[in-house]
């Protein structure tokens, strides 16, 4: 089994790195005690879920088993937890009251999308990536990030954004979702088990930006100061 893992690690280095790199922000959150902030607690939860699912997907990929059902399930968790971070960060309560209903709505939409793309839901071998949910998730997350940036500029509460942890987390997420928004619909066709559409190196873009976003998230966490958070 170990040989299979090593072989797959070398075979798909980029996706393997994107799995392993998740350990960096998790370690940093514990080291910097960033879990004191509820937003960072949700981020930690997301990173742990992501690591577990990514490891399971790595195992499936290494053993030549269709792992797309895990990918589809991740979309729901990722959106709920990522938008949940903004629930604690937004100061405008008019905005926060939309976050939870949208998360519930999005979860039902993704479940419908999974069922729509996979009429034979029990056939995991030929399971396919969702068609629309990834794009909708990207749009919604970009919307929350831009709205948060607007609030950040308007409130003038942060003197230096470059030392503000959540700014780097938002930047990482913005880059990730911007890279995903156009590629997301094609992934449905490009990652099918039997007949796949070749989009060349474009399918590497999500992995590259996953690594970039995790790096920026790590940078943000490394700037977190528990003492500073306690004071505010």
């Amino acid at each position: 089994m170990l040989q299979k893992y090593l072989f797959y690690f070398q075979y798909d280095l980029l996706s393997s790195i994107s799995v392993i790199i998740t350990l960096v922000p998790i370690t940093l959150i514990y080291q910097r005690k960033a879990y004191a902030d509820p937003s960072f607690r949700l981020l930690l939860l997301f990173l742990l879920v992501k690591l577990i699912i990514d490891l399971l997907m790595f195992h499936c990929a290494a053993t030549r088993v269709n792992n797309l059902v895990l990918f589809n399930v991740t979309i729901i968790f990722r959106y709920i937890l990522m938008s949940g971070m903004f629930y604690y960060k937004f100061e405008n309560k008019q905005v926060t009251k939309f976050i939870m209903p949208l998360s519930v709505g999005f979860s039902f939409f993704t479940l419908w999308d999974i069922w729509y793309c996979n009429p034979d839901i029990l056939n995991l071998h030929l399971h396919q990536i969702v068609k629309y949910s990834l794009t909708v998730e990207s749009l919604l997350m970009i919307f929350w990030i831009l709205l948060y940036f607007k609030e950040l500029i308007g409130s003038l509460k942060v003197p230096n954004l470059l030392t503000f942890p959540f700014f780097w987390i938002c930047s990482g997420l913005l880059l990730y979702y911007s890279s995903l928004i156009f590629i997301a619909p094609t992934l449905h066709y490009a990652t099918q088990w039997d007949v796949r559409l070749d989009i060349g190196l474009l399918d590497r873009i999500p992995y590259i930006f996953d690594i970039i976003s995790i790096t920026l998230i790590s940078l943000g966490i490394s700037l977190f100061s528990a003492r500073y958070y306690a004071r505010h």
Binding site: L152, I153, L162, S178, L202
Partner: protein, 286 residues
């Protein structure tokens, strides 16, 4: 095949455009936030300077008004009382010859006039500290505490510092003097103390005024909470704001409290301070 290639290019261009937009948004947020903060800082600075100017004007007006009242007391009331005293003296000589009862009433009137003259002089000096402008801060404090000790059962120690304090700008000296007055009054009025220690401390860049008492003291944290606003501490801070000074309060281990005021040293101008007495006002010829 060609369609797939076109789609790949479209996807690549679209993704690159989105990424460029994301980079632009991030850079814009950083730039805009920085710029807005600088503008806000400038605006705050202007507002702060304006408040400082208003405060300065108010305090100057107060000092001018004190000076005007002192002038009026000295020139008008003082002169009139002196003349009254002179007239009473002349009248006294005539009354002495006539009767004992009238003489008693006359002496009482003379004594009252003399007392009033002394009161007017005291009030005039309190309104405008002439010693401060003529001889400097150390002498003015010395004079103040001597007068205070006379009428109270109070011990006041004053240490003018090891080195002789060089003359400072009029504003600095007056600020320190008024603050000293306020702190000493607070110690007597609210602190119920029996001993006050005043010292002038000089460093390379700052002049320090330390006022310590052995009274009931107060919790310095209460100032931050705004619970001691009635002690004239706001007035002290307002005066200090104009000369970029600071004040720190602490509770003494042995009881009472200490206030340390620090003001940056200011180069002494060559021009002599404008004297308060003799007054410059033109006298009206009757």
């Amino acid at each position: 095949m060609q369609d797939t290639e076109q789609m790949k290019w479209a996807l690549l261009i679209g993704t690159l455009a989105m990424l460029m937009m994301a980079f632009f948004v991030i850079s814009f947020v950083i730039y805009y936030q920085k710029k807005k903060f600088e503008e806000e800082k400038k605006l705050n600075e202007i507002e702060k300077n304006y408040s400082k100017l208003l405060l300065d004007t108010a305090l100057n007006s107060e000092e001018t008004e004190r000076r005007r009242i002192a002038q009026d007391l000295h020139d008008d009331i003082g002169t009139m009382l002196s003349l009254t005293k002179l007239s009473l003296n002349q009248l006294s000589k005539r009354i002495t010859e006539n009767g004992e009862k009238e003489d008693q009433i006359m002496r009482k009137a003379q004594s009252l006039v003399e007392e009033t003259i002394l009161h007017v002089r005291r009030i005039t000096r309190e309104l405008v500290p002439t010693t401060l402008e003529r001889f400097g801060l150390a002498e003015a404090i010395d004079e103040f505490i001597h007068k205070l000790e006379e009428g109270n059962n109070l011990t006041i120690c004053f240490q003018p510092g090891e080195e002789e304090l060089p003359r400072q700008g009029q504003k600095i000296e007056l600020t320190l003097y008024r603050i000293m007055q306020e702190l000493v009054n607070n110690a007597i009025k609210h602190g119920q103390c029996s001993k006050i220690e005043i010292s002038l401390e000089m460093s390379k860049d700052f002049i320090g005024l330390r006022v310590a008492d052995n009274g009931i003291g107060f919790d310095p944290d209460m100032i931050k909470e705004g619970k001691l606003a009635g002690l004239g501490l706001l007035g002290i801070e307002s005066r200090l704001a104009i000369v970029n000074g600071t004040v720190q309060y602490s509770k003494n281990a042995t009881g009472g409290s200490t206030a340390l005021t620090q003001i940056p040293m200011q180069a002494v101008s060559n021009s002599k301070p404008e004297p308060l007495h003799p007054f410059r006002r033109e006298r009206v010829t009757l």
